[in-house]
Amino acid sequence: MAEDLEQTIQRLKELAGDVPLGWDRPRPKRVYIAVDKKDAREFARMLFEDFGARFATATGTDIGEELEVVYHFECDAVGLVINMRERTPKGDPVVPSITPVVPAADWIEREMNDLVGIVFDGHPDPRRLILADDWPDGVYPLRRDKKNDA
């Protein structure tokens, strides 16, 4: 028999071990897992390869003093959404890229780099993706301190 939601979560807990810093399940089919950024790539690899979740997308947010990256993974068989979140201080906006282990994260990491100024260490192709060619370097439109002059 295919495993149900609780069994899936149990398996996830076993695979995750003591890597997560925090574990939150606000709704039955939603799990937020906070990880230290140094563990992020290995944790993403585990979710993708060992656990078998599908990479959906990622979100970068300026949350004040820190920048947050949330990678959204889905486990379609049971409808579970797993959000791996990591934080980094604004003064050191570097997090490891997961693109080497999850190739689909390529463009979304480049987009987060453009818009929020998060640097993905180890990204194979960190060129500008969606900002205009004449957009000034070092100005990140989705940072809170960026004021629209238009």
Binding site: L131, A132, D133, D134, W135, P141, N148
Partner: protein
């Protein structure tokens, strides 16, 4: 108006070929443009043909706000069209910039961007988010009547 201009206008009204330009639309307006070509609306029966190059176009169908990246490209496309050329601002974004009016990538409403190149450009507006295909047909038909 010279005889030549009259002939040009007559040609424009008879069978307007349109070139579709997306200057930063969310893609929904574009889907509605495609809808125009499907058998249900079939604008080809009215002589409206989608042109593959702006040089063949009698009208530009512009969708979306004009982004910083698209601005010079839209102006270049307009320069390449044979005049007279209608510019159709399709959708709330192209007409007024809509909800994106103070977004960071916004580089001017479509009509202002076109008027920078040609102050006498013939611009028509078809509002809606996205406009219905019926509204697009009605808008273009009205514009052609008024030429």
């Amino acid at each position: 108006m010279s005889v030549l201009d009259k002939v040009k206008l007559w040609g424009l009204k008879k069978s307007p070929w349109v070139y579709h330009v997306n200057t930063g639309a969310c893609n929904n307006c574009d889907i509605e443009v495609l809808e125009l070509l499907t058998p249900r609306f079939d604008v080809e029966r009215l002589g409206v043909l989608l042109a593959c190059s702006p040089r063949h176009a009698d009208a530009l169908l512009v969708t979306g706000i004009c982004t910083r990246q698209a601005r010079p490209r839209l102006q270049e496309i307009y320069r390449q069209t044979a005049k007279p050329c209608l510019v159709v601002c399709l959708g709330a974004c192209a007409c007024t910039a809509g909800i994106f009016h103070d977004a960071w990538h916004f580089a001017g409403p479509v009509d202002e961007v076109i008027r920078e190149v040609d102050p006498d450009a013939k611009i028509i507006y078809i509002p809606g988010c996205p406009p219905k295909p019926e509204a697009m047909i009605a808008g273009i038909a009205k514009a052609l009547q008024d030429l």
